[in-house]
């Protein structure tokens, strides 16, 4: 008898509500269930304010659900300590934000290497640096490795953010409106990059987006409506 491996990400009846003054609260997510296997890609669509980013933050261990469970590789994230959660974010998850969040004081390469400072050693080895260079090369930023974010275009910044998310070889890449602030050409290019990464590297991908074009490149497309994932 063999056990099948647990799904990469599983959301079980996840709900999230926020207090709204007095004793009442506003429910953003209700009974969200999701199962994502390794190598899968999913696009989550929905109107603004429907809870897409909230769902991604919960899946990325940046926020906690009001109810329900979030399991990453079979491990309940709510049962982990802060230190363990940080390790999960650092080693197993990659996050790409709409506002890229590159640090202006660091070069592109330093921004890419930033997650490696979170490790106890606090210093990236030569292999990591080589990997960073390869990734930058792959996304067309090799010539920009020593540039500051302020010297990059919007698309370049977002590609640098993707490379930063991939530096620790995560199992799951979570992207929140990655093309939201980009022009059409840059959005197209980034969509190609994400789809290629999912296809070539086997990294699972969850993309929250308004863009149906980008969503169409993903393996599955889900919609959030009234707090439910459909």
């Amino acid at each position: 008898m063999t056990h099948s491996p647990p799904p990469l990400l599983e959301l079980r009846s996840v709900g999230k509500s926020y207090p709204s003054g007095g004793a009442g609260s506003v429910a953003v997510l209700n009974e969200v269930n999701l199962v994502l296997n390794p190598g899968e890609s999913v696009a989550i669509l929905g109107p603004s304010g429907c809870g897409k980013s909230t769902l991604l933050n919960i899946a990325g261990a940046l926020d906690t659900p009001t109810r329900g469970q979030v399991l990453l590789e079979g491990v309940d994230l709510q049962a982990l300590s802060e230190r363990e959660l940080a390790a999960v974010r650092n080693r197993r998850l990659g996050l790409v934000f709409q506002m890229h969040h590159l640090l202006p004081q660091c070069t592109v390469l330093e921004n890419v290497l930033l997650p490696t400072l979170a490790a106890p050693a606090g210093r990236p080895g030569p292999e990591v640096i080589r990997r960073a260079d390869e990734l930058l090369e792959r996304v067309g930023l090799a010539a920009r490795r020593s540039h500051r974010p302020g010297q990059l275009s919007g698309g370049e910044r977002q590609r640098a953010a993707v490379v930063r998310a991939l530096i620790n070889e995560p199992a799951l890449l979570l992207a929140d409106e990655p093309t939201g602030s980009l022009d059409h050409a840059s959005a197209e290019s980034l969509g190609d990059l994400l789809a290629g990464l999912n296809r070539d590297s086997g990294v699972a991908l969850v993309v929250v987006t308004h863009s149906t074009e980008l969503a169409a490149r993903m393996g599955r497309v889900l919609r959030i409506c009234d707090g439910l994932l459909q």
Binding site: L114, A118, R123, R148, Q151
Partner: protein, 722 residues
């Protein structure tokens, strides 16, 4: 990419915000460190003043009421054991670079006493240079080291200088300028051996004198100028004491200025701590002794090169009754009390503490109090100015009985049972005298067979004159009342008392703040000589009780300096709100910096940094800024101190009585100031960082985007790009 590199990058990028934190810590550190250094400088300046004031004088017998033998100085010196430099070297001796060669060189100078001169050492160029520099600059420290080295030299004899210290007025011969309350100090070359550096030689017999710079400046004196020094002839007995002799007896000394003593040359010499230098004149000891009639006497001793305890032990061995102006003498046989010895004082009244010690040590001792009464009256008959002695228990039946001699009985036509009225002066406040009357009943009349003037103490102005009309006892005398028969009595019987009353009755009338006995009489053992009795008395008396002992003046002066008001804490207190404001500014700017980096903190959390690590990263940036701030603050603090001292020496000069302050920083104070400032700044930051809300990463990320800064040149390129 390393944590260190990340911190440097962040500091360089946000230098404008960090500059505020830097300036806040700098200001706090500068004020705190600077305030503490003001304390250091004040303590150092007070210590320098004490050393400049006392030179090599470690202990001193300060001038008091006694004039002791000048030779006592030499006797004490010979008795003080020669000790090693370690045990008795003044503290500052340790700071002489290459001190041993200097000490040895000075020892050569120390050998023949006649040739003792403080000259720069011939060997050891650096020491000689320091000596010269100290002398030229007048700063004092090298010179003080020189004196200290001399006195602290291994196997060097202590130096003990007899000094005659009096108060005088000094004026120019033409009367154009005059200085009152001048310290007139008679010294010999031993005194100058204790000086930081010698002011110049003054011959012991010449009419030359040395003025300190303050006096020279006040009178506009320069070498060669003549002055008139007026000094009141010292009396063994206070001028306030009854029967202390003529009230005014000044002498004038004409002298010519040979040198001006600066601060390094005992120009500030004084046994009393005073921020303002005294007005001082140094004259040859012998000349002053002759001028004031105190040949061979001194009233103070200055000692260096020996510890106070050793000096006092030596003094205890060699002192003599004469040093307390006491003498023991045989009372001539037939005085009516058997073979007796008498202890009496040239100061007329026996010091009460001393009399108590002697009485306890001498079995059978009985007190004597002899006084000059203005009048003894019986009815219309009166006898003026007679000595009356109070001694022993009350004769006969009562305390108010009086025993009179046959001369007085005849003069007053008195007989046993008559009531006699004694009029006398009682001492009031200061020199105030009030004439009072006491009544006694004649108990007995005794025959006056022979003179017994030994009952009378050596009243100045009385004891040494032949005629009653020449009396100058220091109290109002109406010489017209003195009759020929009184003169005849004085010629034949001198101070022989005409009457005796009980000691208790006498002390009730004539006790005063100077004493209540004029002599102590005690029986002598068979065959015992007066010399042996004197030895017995001497052994029974502790000269310390009469002020004849060395006091550790240097240690006391240094202690007073150390224990003076802590100007450091005073300045810290005065600057407290400034320091608190600077720290508050530091904390606020630090928080402001953190608040501006909310999204960055959220990003770091999202990338896998723990909350503690993010906090540490931000805090370490603060630490780096605070370390730089406090370092430069400490440097600025030294400037602040110099500025404060400059203010004290100029703008606030009147507030500190013209004291001179020298900048001085103890490494420990610098360390404490810097560490305290750093700790305070870090504490402020820590509290500020700690109060930062524990928000989730998503909240922090939602707090705002990270400004990537289009103008990258605003960051300082502190690290190469990579």
């Amino acid at each position: 990419m390393t944590v260190f590199r990340f911190i440097i990058r962040s500091l360089a990028y946000r230098w404008r915000t960090q500059l505020g934190v830097f300036l806040g810590t700098l200001v706090a550190a500068a004020i705190l460190t600077g305030s503490l250094l003001v304390g250091d400088s004040v303590r150092f300046s007070l210590e320098q003043m004490a050393r400049s004031r006392l030179g090599g004088v470690v202990a001193a017998v300060p001038p008091g009421e006694h004039f002791f033998r000048e030779r006592l100085a030499e006797e004490v010196r010979l008795e003080v054991p020669v000790t090693s430099a370690r045990s008795q070297a003044p503290a500052w001796e340790c700071s002489i670079p290459g001190g041993s060669s200097l000490l040895l060189d000075l020892q050569k100078h120390n050998a023949p006493e006649e040739n003792r001169r403080l000259e720069p050492p011939r060997q050891g160029r650096s020491q000689a240079g320091a000596w010269e520099r100290g002398r030229e600059s007048g700063r004092g420290l090298p010179a003080l080291q020189h004196a200290g080295a001399f006195l602290g030299a291994p196997n060097a004899s202590p130096v003990i200088a007899p000094v005659l210290m009096l108060r005088a007025t000094v004026s120019l011969p033409d009367g154009r300028a005059r200085a009152n309350e001048v310290e007139l100090i008679g010294v010999d070359r031993r005194f100058w051996q204790l000086a930081p550096t010698p002011a110049g030689a003054i011959s012991e017999t010449s009419d030359s004198f040395i003025a300190n710079d303050r006096l020279a400046s006040q009178l506009g004196l320069k070498p060669g100028d003549a002055v008139i020094i007026r000094v009141e002839k010292p009396s063994l007995l206070s001028r306030d004491a009854p029967l202390s002799g003529a009230a005014e007896n000044t002498v004038a000394i004409r002298a010519r200025l040979t040198a001006v003593a600066g601060p390094d040359q005992f120009g500030r010499f004084s046994l009393r701590a005073n921020q303002v230098p005294p007005l001082t004149v140094f004259v040859p000891l012998r000349a002053l002794q002759e001028a004031v009639g105190k040949q061979g006497c001194a009233n103070a001793l200055m000692a260096g090169g020996a510890e106070e305890t050793a000096l006092n032990a030596a003094l205890r061995k060699v002192w003599d009754l004469a040093d307390l102006n006491l003498e023991v003498r045989d009372v001539p046989a037939g005085a009516g009390f058997g073979r007796l010895a008498e202890l009496r004082s040239e100061r007329v009244f026996l010091d009460p503490a001393l009399a108590t010690s002697a009485t306890a040590a001498l079995p059978g001792a009985s007190g004597v109090l002899t006084y000059l009464v203005n009048e003894i009256r019986l009815g219309s008959r009166a006898t003026p100015y007679s000595m009356v002695t109070a001694v022993g228990e009350a004769p006969g039946s009562g305390a108010n009985e009086i025993v009179i001699d046959s001369w007085l009985a005849a003069d007053l036509n008195a007989k046993p049972g008559d009531d006699l009225a004694l009029r006398y002066f009682a001492v009031g406040v200061g020199r105030q005298l009030t004439e009072q009357t006491a009544h006694f009943r004649v108990g007995r009349v005794f025959p006056l067979n022979r003179p017994s003037p030994e009952w009378m103490p050596p009243f100045p102005g009385l004891a040494e004159v032949d005629n009653c009309r020449d009396w100058e006892p220091g109290i109002p005398i109406d010489t017209t009342r003195i009759r020929p028969k009184d003169e005849e009595y004085w010629r034949v019987y001198r101070g022989t008392p005409k009457a005796f009353i009980s000691l208790r009755a006498g002390q009730a009338l004539w006790s005063n703040r100077f004493g209540n006995l004029t002599a102590l009489r005690f029986p002598m053992a068979g065959g015992e000589t007066a010399r042996e009795v004197a030895r017995r008395v001497r052994d029974a008396i502790d000269p310390r009780k009469s002020g004849l002992y060395f006091q550790p003046v240097l240690a006391a002066a240094l202690k007073a300096g150390r224990e003076s008001d802590d100007f450091g804490m005073l300045f810290v207190s005065l600057s407290f709100f400034l320091i608190a404001a600077a720290l508050l500014l530091t904390a606020l700017l630090f928080v402001f910096n953190i608040e501006r980096r909310t999204a960055e903190a959220g990003l770091l959390l999202a990338l896998g940094f723990t909350r503690g690590r993010v906090r540490r990263l931000l805090f370490m940036e603060g630490v780096a800024v605070a370390v730089c701030g406090t370092f430069f603050g400490a440097v600025a603090g030294t400037l602040y101190t110099r500025l404060a001292l400059h203010g004290l020496s100029t703008v606030w000069k009147q507030a500190i009585a013209a004291m001179e302050f020298h900048y001085h920083a103890e490494p420990w104070t610098l360390a404490v100031g810097t560490a305290s400032s750093l700790a305070a700044a870090l504490l402020a930051m820590w509290f500020a960082a700690r109060s930062h809300a524990r928000r989730t990463p998503s909240d922090l990320l939602a707090g705002g985007g990270i400004d990537v800064g289009q103008d990258v040149t605003q960051a300082w390129p502190v690290l190469p790009e990579r």
